[in-house]
Structure formats: C-alpha cells, structure tokens
C-alpha cells in the first residue's frame, strides 16, 4: 500500500459534464488515477473489461441511462469494488438507499476536495477486511471447522476444507457448497470454486461407505448418505468416487499397505505417475503433492526401499511417516501450529497465485504473516522447473523441485514467512497455481497428491507411524511443510542435491 493514496485508480461516473470536469480535476489533484465516463452502461463495460484494474468507483446517483443504485448493485455483484455515491440530494431515504445497496459512502454535492482526499480509506478498509477474511477462513472450513491448524485429528472429519479459498469465497459472499473436490487451483485468486479437501478421515469414511455398498455398486448419493458429512455434496462425492475408481484400477499391484484405500487420494494423482507401482502409495501422491522430487523422496526416505521406477523407494507410508516426523523435526513447522503452511509447497504453487490466495505463501518459518505470503517471492518458475525437467506433475516428484525452488526462493525466511495459512488445500492450490504453465491435469494431480499427501500423512500419524502427533502437524500445511522440510533436510544431509542444485536451496531453518 505504499502507493496509496496516490495512484488510486478511480472510475468516475457522472452524467453532468460540469460535475464530471470538476470532480475529475479534484481527483487528479489528489493524485489519483482517474478514468471518467458519463454513462453508467459505459462504466460497467469499462469495469468488466478491465477487471481488477480499478480500486474504487465514484458515481452520481441520478443518471439518465441507469439509476446510480442499479449500477451500484451491478458493481457489487460483479466486481465487488468499493463504490461511493454522490448527489446533491441529501434526503435521508436516498442516503439510506445507498447504504442498503452497498455503497461504501455517500457524498453530498457539491463535492469538496476534502471529501475526496479520504476516499482511499474505503479501498484500504475493504482490502483489509478481505485479507482478514482470508486469514480467518484460511483455516476455517466451510463447515465451521476453524483453525485447521493446530487441530488435532478431529478436523479431519470434516475434511479440513478450510482452504483459503473459502476465505475468498466468504469474501465474495458465496454460500455455495462448502466442499468440493479440490480442483485444480488456477493461479487466479478469482477462482470461486469451493474446495473440498479429502482428508484422511474423510476419505476413510468415504471408503468405508463405498466398501459397504460395494465398489462397483456404490453411487454418490448413497455414499453421501452413508458418510453423512455435513457440507459434503453429492458432486463432491461423485468426483471423488470417480478418482477413487481410477485409482483402484490403476493400482492393480497389491499394496503392501492396507492403507491402500486410505492413500487412494494420493494415488489418484498417481495416474500419470509411474510411481504408482511403488508402494503405490501415496508416497507418490505425497511426493506429488509435496512436490518432492523422487530423488528427494528417496533421500527422504530413510528406508532402504529400493526406489522403484521413480527412485522413490520409500513406501508411501514410510514417507508419510517420515514426513510426519519430519514435520515434527521441523521446529518451525510445528511450532507454528497454525499452519505452518506448507509454505514451501505453497510457496511454490503460490508464487504466482499466492497473490490470490493470499495466505498461502508457504513459509518455512511459519510465520504468521499471511500477508506476506505474497508469493511473489517464490519464483514459480522454479517450481515448475522440476516439473518441466521431465517430471510430470503426475509424478509427484516435482514436489521436491517445487520445494527446492521454494527453498531457493526463500533464501530468507521471508519467503517462509509468507505465511501460508496453511491448509493443505491451499498448498495444493499454490502448487497448482504455480503450475500455471503446467497443464491442468497435472495440476490437478498435484492437488490430489497434495491432498493425498496430507491424508497420508495424517493417516500415518494416525496410525502412529510417525511420532508426530496430529497436533504437531497442522493438518495439511504441516504435513506439506514437514515433508518439504524433510525433503530438504534429507537432501542436505544426504547430499542429494539434484533437486536443489538449481535452486540455491537453503533450508529454511
């Protein structure tokens, strides 16, 4: 906000040419960036065309082609910009109308310079409120779970939805269904899709329901009923079911883990992952989600598991465990509790879209400066690199790369700071967004992986595989962060620097 109030981009709408000229001049004197138009219809089209460009709209109430209040409504619905109404009419009911239609302020004409000087406060206020919402909802699940972070495993039941998207959604005032499969998270923060994060527990419930009904016979509606999770929609279940089925098909190799199902989520994305054959797990998914490079994963994995094709010899479980434990190792991560935010992951994905996300910037430091998460620090490019270097996203291996890049990006904790509010979902999103240049599918996979990863991690913990307790790990973020940390650490320790080499990896610690 350093440029405020100078440079504030105002759209001025007034049909009276005299007023328009005067106001324009006044606004320019305030050093605002003014665009004028005398017709409401034109104003709307300008706003639509240049979405996101304007900070504020200043509009007259009485206009020949469209009532100022109508314009106000349109703007509120479509762009959600602060709008200030103006009129010589100071009747209470007119002013009230402005309030009810959502105007930020109402200025009585004739307008004085002083009144205009402070209009920037409305922009700031709005942004602050939005950010706050994001922060709050970052860990808030739509179905009222708050603070995923620090949550003990309980939050899993609702499927830790709270991705920050929710926050955004809230801001936008949407009450749409709360949970949906986390689709690819495009980098734009304008995405309004609600997301559902299939946590380990949630997935478990799903699997139980499916098994009860019979995999082949299970239908979303019945599954939903059996699961009986508030906020979950049939669509959520349907898409999850689809993925699950794909996963089952793909995983024809008997898994050594009974968690096969559990890791389904992670496996889903394994689709493109050749790793799928490895323990089949989620490791890959994990890897994918955490964007760990296979090598890294191997590094991570202390176990001897021979890395199969991907070199990820680590069973998912192990990985998860590892990750979980890693999480605990990582002081920052756990200490934060609130969302250690897989910041790293997020950072990766986020960089580009962190902006939108706003809080996902993964921070290694788990600094709660969400705002900081302007991922800008994170060079997405880095993130993508690994992918491009041949690892399909599908292979989750990219995770490490991403991570590395993350690391690289953040050579200072600042990146870490970006505080991802951490929800795994977010991270995923971040990842996704990072991948903007990666095709959607991959992204989705990543997301899935991430989700899986989280789930797996949870599961692992859940089973006591790791020494980390749920509490220690922020549900989603922690896991990711932990994983990342682990990977990073491992890399460092084991001298595996493939991934990181290119990224000046610096452990966040």
């Amino acid at each position: 906000m350093t440029e405020f109030p100078a440079g504030l981009r105002v759209l001025l709408v007034d049909d009276d040419p005299t007023c328009l000229k005067i106001l324009d001049r006044m606004l320019r004197k305030c050093l605002y960036d003014v665009t004028t138009c005398s017709r409401a219809a034109v104003a709307l089209s300008i706003l639509r065309e240049k979405k996101g460009w304007f900070d504020l709209v200043l509009s007259d109430v009485y206009m020949p082609d469209m009532d100022g209040f109508k314009l106000l409504e349109h703007i509120g619905l479509e762009m959600d910009l602060p709008v200030i109404m103006m009129s010589a009419d100071d009747h209470k009911d007119v002013v009230m109308k402005g309030v009810t239609h959502g105007a930020c302020d109402y200025i009585i004409k004739p307008v004085r310079m002083e009144s205009l000087k402070n209009i920037w406060q409305h922009v700031v206020r709005k942004k602050r409120n939005e950010l706050k919402e994001l922060e709050n909802s970052g860990s808030v699940e739509e179905d009222d779970k708050h603070k995923r972070s620090l949550d003990d495993g309980d939050n899993a039941s609702s499927g830790c939805v709270g991705n920050w998207k929710n926050a955004k959604r809230k801001k936008e005032g949407k009450d749409e269904e709360e949970e949906e499969m986390v689709e690819e998270h495009d980098d734009s923060s304008n995405s309004k899709k609600p997301r559902v994060v299939w946590s380990v527990d949630l997935h478990q419930q799903f699997v139980t329901a499916v098994n009860q009904l019979g995999v082949d016979k299970a239908v979303p509606k019945k599954i939903l009923e059996l699961m009986n999770v508030a906020g979950l929609t049939r669509e959520n279940v349907a898409s999850h079911l689809q993925k699950y089925r794909l996963y089952l098909r793909r995983v024809s190799v008997p898994q050594h883990h009974s968690r096969f199902d559990a890791h389904f989520a992670s496996a889903q994305e394994v689709t493109y992952n050749s790793i799928g054959s490895v323990s089949g797990y989620d490791f890959q998914a994990l890897a994918a989600s955490t964007q760990l490079l296979p090598q890294n994963i191997a590094a991570l994995h202390s176990g001897p598991r021979s890395a199969t094709n991907t070199g990820m010899g680590v069973s998912a479980i192990d990985q998860i465990g590892f990750l979980s434990s890693a999480g605990s190792c990582y002081p920052r991560v756990s200490s934060k509790g609130a969302t250690p935010q897989t910041g790293s992951v997020k950072a990766l994905s986020n960089s580009s879209n962190l902006k939108g996300m706003d809080n996902h910037v993964p921070n290694f430091d788990i600094i709660g400066e969400h705002r900081e998460n302007k991922t800008q620090d994170w060079k997405l490019q880095n993130v993508n690199l690994p992918y491009q270097s041949g690892q399909n996203l599908g292979h989750g291996q990219s995770t490490i790369d991403c991570r590395s890049s993350l690391m690289g990006n953040q050579d200072s904790t600042s990146t870490a700071k970006n505080g991802f509010n951490g929800n795994a979902g977010t991270v995923t999103k971040n990842i996704i967004s990072t991948r903007s240049d990666i095709d959607m599918e991959k992204r989705e996979c990543i997301v899935q992986h991430k989700t899986n990863l989280v789930e797996n991690c949870n599961r692992v913990n859940y089973d006591g595989i790791t020494d980390l307790s749920y509490q220690d790990i922020l549900f989603e973020d922690n896991i990711i962060t932990n994983e990342l940390m682990n990977v990073v650490r491992k890399q460092q320790q084991e001298g595996i620097g493939q991934v990181d080499n290119e990224f000046n990896f610096n452990p966040p610690v």
Binding site: D16, T18, K21, R25, M26, Y62, A88, D89, P110, M113
Partner: protein
Amino acid sequence: MDRSSLQRQLANLKKSLFDQGNLDEQFYQLEELQDDASPNFVEEVVTLFFRDSSRLVANIEQAIEKCPRDYVSLDALVHQLKDSASSIGAAKMMKDCTVFREYCDKRNFEGCQTLCLRSFQKVKNEHSTLRQKLENYFQLLRQVGPAEKATRSGK
C-alpha cells in the same frame, strides 16, 4: 485603465457576486483547482456549465409546455440543473431550483400552474444574470492578468 484599478474592479465584482448570493464557497473550490497546469480551469468550467445548463433550462421549458403533468421527468430535469449549479457554486440558482422543485410537486403544479411557472422563471432569470456577471468577471480577469490570482481570493 491601470492595473490596480482593474484589480479593484475585479475584487468588487467578485465580492458582489458573493454578497448577493450568486456564488458560494464552492466557487473557491474551483479556484483552488486552478493552477499552472490548468490556468483557465475556472473559466472553462463555468463556460461548460452555462452551455450545459442552457440546454437543461430549454428542456425544462419545453417539458412544462408540452407535458406539464409529467412531474417525474420535470423533477428529474430540475434536479439535474440543481446538481450542476451546485458544482460551480451557483448558490442562488440552486435555491431557485429548490423552490421550483417544490412547486413541481404534482399537487402544486396542478393547483397553481402559474406559481410554478413563475418559479421557473426565476430560475431562468438567475441563470441569465449569473451568466452575465460571470462573463464580465472573466473578462476583467483576463484583462488584469494572472498576477491577479493573489488578490482574487478577496473573500
């Protein structure tokens, strides 16, 4: 005429405009907006105002003649005129518009069209008067030259 005499004249003219209520402090706001980047801002705005308001006045006149019952449209037009006048600080005009608007009320209009018309006439008159006065003012201003700026704010 020597400069100081012109300056005095200018100051007086301005003072009378304010004293007689033709203009109010909004006019000062306009003056404040004038600077090196926009040296003739006030005059430009005023010119613009009169051009636009003349059109409005004509429209109102037409509306009264053709559709005296269309109070809604009439009211809207007068409101527009008032808005415009307020932006340059044409105080008297604003007042006249307000009065006229009250007369535009259906009841009043029907009840006493004469009164309403008379009220509108006032608006029209003020419009012309103000225009004339301001034209003189700007003419004088031009004669006196930019140095006059300092004394212009002879409040």
